[in-house]
Structure formats: structure tokens, C-alpha cells
């Protein structure tokens, strides 16, 4: 024991291991009463690790050329031992990543996890969502199936809609006049190195910022207010073991669902891996119906809902669609400055905030459903209404949060 302590102090003198372990694990206070919404962060870490490790292994067998990409995926699926498992874990992991991310962020919206002083935590999180969307898009191109090719075509042609620079920007991104092997190679580099590195950095920032300002709780109570003699908040418990051991059963349940999908429904009924993607990319043959993977569907729906431009400003419907599509993600970034409420949690906010949250969630899910379906008139109309309902809660937020009647927040959890 003595030697262990002297070893620890030798290390601590040079690298503050104990100090940081205490700061972030054994003495870091977390609210003693939270609900299941607060488990998604831990699960996201697990999924991120799954994606990184399976990704590295897939990279060992994948060929990033136009000629070899599709066959190399089948090589992984058939010839590499457990290659199919890596591939399905990676593809299912992508869906799980988004699923958890959406819940994690919705928790933030519900319980005001972006309010002062947590603005940076929220901002890093929004950047992570943006990077995750980019990562998913880049990764979906790699198998070089029909849907990889045509979905990428659709998204890249959006850049072409930007006035003046659009076309040359699109060619620059593609590295060719059409979507080709040149695009595939650079997307591979971005997917496996650049974006993951940025994501890791942002995850670190996200967590450090969170540990600086402290985790929230569904009541919106500031647990730092009352501390005992040791400095531990009265409504707080140390991160380890309370939070860590609390996450373990959640991880277990997550893995049950995750492996049930990996082993029994890896294509998710065509929503996780789409059917046309089992056919090699063919630039002469467009699939009958280009649908995004489910996790982009809400945003794709918004993109499609814009069927009109602003002619006298020279804005085409395609470009306006792109702007509104971009705005639907960008608006999340400024939420900390839109919310003027005195209270954090939806539990103590007024009726308007509650209606706004329901409106937002409903329109998001509806847009998601519509995004996977072919368009028709009624659907376009519903998508347009839902797009408005998606934005309204944010646009009106400064008004209703300021004037609505809030309940008194208790002092303690």
C-alpha cells in the first residue's frame, strides 16, 4: 500500500492524475435526482467508441476506389472473419448515434440545459450534431451503392444552388465534374480522419465545459447553492460511483436493443441500410425513389417542403430550400440567447413553452416520417405546415419565455 501511494505521489508530482480523477470522477458532484433523459450522454460515449473501433477495423479491409469500394464491402461481409458483424455494428451504430443524439438534445431543450452558464456546453453539442450529420453523410457514400451515389448527388447539387459560386464550389467539393472516384477518396479521408478528430476534440471540450459549470437536473435547481462542510453540494453525489454505476444498467439495456437490431434486423427494414444500396452505383440509372436514411429525414423533408423561391431577389426554390434547411440546424445554435425565461426546466415554465415543445417534437417526427416517403401534394402541404411549426417555437421563444407566467423553482432537489 505504501509503495502504491509513493508511486501515485511520484506520478502526481509530474502528472496530476489523482487531482483530475477527483475533479472529474470521484469528487465531481452530480445532481442526486435525475431521470432517464440524463443517461443519453453516457450512451453516446459508448456508441462513439463502438463507431471508432468498428470504423478502424472496417478501414483495414475497405477499398476507397470507385472500382473496388462496392466489392470490398461484400468482401468484408463474406470473406473477413466477423466482417459482417463489424459492418452491421457500424451501420447500426450510426443510427443509434443519431437516435441518442436527438434524445440528448431534446432533453437539453426540455430542461434548459443551454441556459447561462451552459451556453458553451450547448454550442459544442450543436457543433457535434453538425459534425455527426457530416460524418454520417460522408460515411454513407463509402459503400458506393446506388443510394450512396444518388443521395450524395442530391446533397452535393444543393451546393450548386448557391448563387455565383455554387457550380464551381460543387465541382471543387467533388474534385470532378461529376460525383466520382475522386469524390469517394476525399470523402473517405474526411470520414475516417478529419471529422472524427474534430468530434473527439469537441467531445472533450463538451465534457470539460460541462464539468466546469456542473450537470443540470430536471428541476432546474442549482445544486451548488447548499454545500456541506466538505464542500459537496447537499443535493449532489459524487460522479463515481453514483453516475457511473447508474449508467451501467442503461448500457446493458442499450446493448440488448443494439444487438437485437444487429443480429435480427441489421437493415432496419430498409431504414438503416436502404435496399438500393445493395446494388453498385450506376450513374446511368436513378433509383425510383431517393430517400435519405431515417436520421436525415426531418431535414430532408424541410428541404423538399420549399417549393417556391423569391423570384425578385433572384433566389430559386432550390436555393431557398437549402437556406431553410441550413437554418433548421443553425437555429439550434442560438437557442441559449432566444430563451429569456427565469427558470430552466419545462416543469416550471409556462404553458406556452410546453405547447412550443410539443409543437416542435410533433413536427420533427412528422417531418421525419414524410422525409422517407415519396412526395405528393398533400404530403408537401403537411411538410410545409410542419416546417413552420418546427421554426415557430424558436422564433417566438424570446417573446413567450419572457412574458409567460412561470412557477417558483424550489430551493432543493
Amino acid at each position: 500500500m505504501a509503495s502504491k501511494n509513493s508511486l501515485m505521489s511520484w506520478i502526481d508530482r509530474r502528472l496530476p492524475v489523482t487531482e483530475n480523477l477527483e475533479r472529474h470522477l470521484t469528487k465531481h458532484p452530480v445532481p442526486s435526482k435525475v431521470n432517464f433523459f440524463y443517461l443519453f450522454g453516457a450512451l453516446l460515449m459508448v456508441v462513439f467508441m463502438i463507431q471508432v473501433i468498428t470504423g478502424i477495423w472496417l478501414m483495414m479491409f475497405y477499398t476507397n476506389t470507385e472500382e473496388g469500394a462496392f466489392a470490398s464491402v461484400e468482401y468484408i461481409m463474406r470473406d473477413v472473419e466477423y466482417g459482417w458483424l463489424m459492418r452491421y455494428m457500424h451501420s447500426t451504430g450510426a443510427s443509434a448515434f443519431f437516435f441518442l443524439m436527438y434524445f440528448h438534445m431534446f432533453r437539453g431543450l426540455l430542461y434548459g440545459s443551454y441556459q447561462k452558464p451552459k451556453e458553451l456546453v450547448w454550442l459544442f453539442g450543436c457543433f457535434l450534431l453538425f459534425l455527426l450529420m457530416a460524418e454520417g453523410f460522408l460515411g454513407y457514400v463509402l459503400p458506393w451503392g446506388q443510394m450512396s451515389y444518388w443521395a450524395a448527388n442530391v446533397i452535393l447539387s444543393l451546393f450548386g444552388a448557391i448563387p455565383f459560386i455554387g457550380e464551381s464550389l460543387q465541382v471543387w467539393i467533388q474534385g470532378d465534374y461529376v460525383l466520382s472516384g475522386a469524390t469517394l477518396s476525399r470523402f473517405f479521408a474526411l470520414h475516417v480522419v478529419v471529422v472524427p478528430l474534430l468530434m473527439i476534440a469537441l467531445v472533450v471540450f463538451h465534457i470539460f465545459a460541462l464539468h466546469e459549470v456542473g450537470a443540470g437536473n430536471p428541476e432546474g435547481v442549482d445544486i451548488e447553492k447548499y454545500r456541506d462542510k466538505t464542500g459537496m453540494p447537499l443535493d449532489g453525489k459524487p460522479f463515481h460511483p453514483y453516475k457511473t454505476f447508474g449508467a451501467l444498467p442503461a448500457i446493458g439495456i442499450f446493448f440488448i436493443v443494439f444487438f437485437a437490431i444487429v443480429y435480427y434486423a441489421p437493415t432496419g427494414g430498409g431504414y438503416f441500410i436502404e435496399k438500393p444500396n445493395f446494388e453498385e452505383a450506376n450513374f446511368l440509372k436513378t433509383p425510383e425513389h431517393i430517400a435519405p436514411v431515417w436520421y436525415y429525414a426531418p431535414f430532408y423533408s424541410i428541404l423538399r417542403a420549399v417549393t417556391f423561391g423569391i423570384p425578385f431577389l433572384g433566389i430559386t426554390s432550390k436555393f431557398l430550400g437549402f437556406i431553410i434547411f441550413a437554418a433548421s440546424i443553425a437555429i439550434l445554435f442560438i437557442v441559449p440567447w432566444l430563451d429569456r425565461s427565469k427558470v430552466q426546466s419545462i416543469r416550471y415554465k409556462g404553458i406556452f413553452s410546453k405547447i412550443a415543445m410539443i409543437m416542435f417534437a410533433t413536427s420533427f417526427i412528422t417531418l421525419g416520417y414524410l422525409g422517407t416517403k415519396p412526395v405528393n401534394e398533400i404530403r408537401t402541404l403537411i411538410a410545409q405546415i410542419c416546417t413552420i411549426f418546427y421554426f415557430l417555437p424558436f422564433i417566438l421563444m424570446p417573446i413567450y419565455t419572457k412574458y409567460e407566467k412561470t412557477l417558483e423553482v424550489p430551493d432543493r432537489l
Binding site: W84, L248, R379
Partner: protein, 228 residues
Amino acid sequence: MKKLIFLAFFISLFGYSAGENKCGELEKCFSFESSVHDRDSLQRGLGIYKNYCSSCHTLRYLRWNRLQRDLDIPETVLIDDLISNENIKTSDFVTFGLPEISPIGAPDLTLRTRVRGDDWIYTYLQTFYQDTSQATGSNNLVYPGTAMAHVLIGLQGTQELDSNGKLIRLSKGALEPEEFDSAMKDLVNFLAYASEPARIERERNGIYIILFFVVFTAVMWLLYREYK
């Protein structure tokens, strides 16, 4: 109340999706879900593929020896009856030396059931009918104007469309309708296997992984409760 409104809303949404399950000329494909766990069925399916499909269609991503292992085919049967070409090794892909892009446009079948779905292939195989306006002399309800001839005519017999667009049988084939139906199920099962050989192992072992994590959850739950 809120939930009711949600529910009504979603039901109305799904209502608009009518007509999207269309299967060529048909309202809906015949429903069939492949299974890869009946080895006899897979072997019969392989037989049909070998006899009726393999002269035009390849299985470009499937190796002979994988097939041999998974379907439990004796070495002699594999080499003498199935490959029957001494230049082809058992580790080669099931292509019979056909070119990668078929001169008559017959697609590779390895991943076909994953692209089209089991239902579609199963229905497609059943719905050929006589049509003299076509170059091949036959047409298909699921894929009108298909370039593929009714190669299974000897097994199925001839069919014709009546004035209501329903299929009627003109002459008997070598197989009774039920036998033909079960033969097509075998074939789709085999093609589904070819599209993903790992599926056999996957569907067999998944339950153990899931059970393990049930135990994992239980133990971790107790641990969490202990420290709560």
C-alpha cells in the same frame, strides 16, 4: 387527450401512403419471408438455380467452398456435378466463367433479394404469362416488359391473363402448382442465403448475445442499487 390527437394525426398520415406498396401491375406482392435455416430447402434451391438460372445469371460474390461448407455439400458432388469444370477452383466465385457484365443483360443475382426484397423476387418468379407482343413470348406482372424469358415454363406450365388482368393457367407443367410454389420458395431461400451467407450464423447466435446482455443488465442493476 394529447396522445389521442397524436394518434389521429399519425393515422391520417399513414392513410395517404395507399398505393405505394404496388408490385408492378399487382396491388401488392405475394408475401414471403425467406429463411436460411432449412438446409434441404437451400440445397433444393441451389439445384433450381444450377439448372435454370446459372446459364445466364452469376453469383459473383459467393465462393463455391463457402457454399459447400454452409450447405453441407459433399466434395465430389460439388466438383463433379455443380462445378463440373476442372479449371474452376473450389475457392472461386460462382460465375461459371460468365463475364462480369452479361451480354444479354442478365443481372448478377448475389445481392438481388436484398435490392428487391424476398416478396418481389418470389412474386416475379410466379407471374410470367404468355404475351406474343414480347420478344421473349412472355411477359411479367411484377416487371412488365422484362427481358427475361419464362425459363421455368417447363415446371410451371403456361399462364395467360384474362380480361380482368387475372392470371389463369393454360397448361400443366412438370410440377403441380403447390410443388412449383414450394420450389420457388426454395429458390428464394437460396438466393437470400447467397445474398448474405453470414445470416445463418447471425440469426443462430444473436439470441445468446442478447441473453448475455440481459444478465449483464441484471448484475449492473443490482450493483447500481447497492450504491444508490
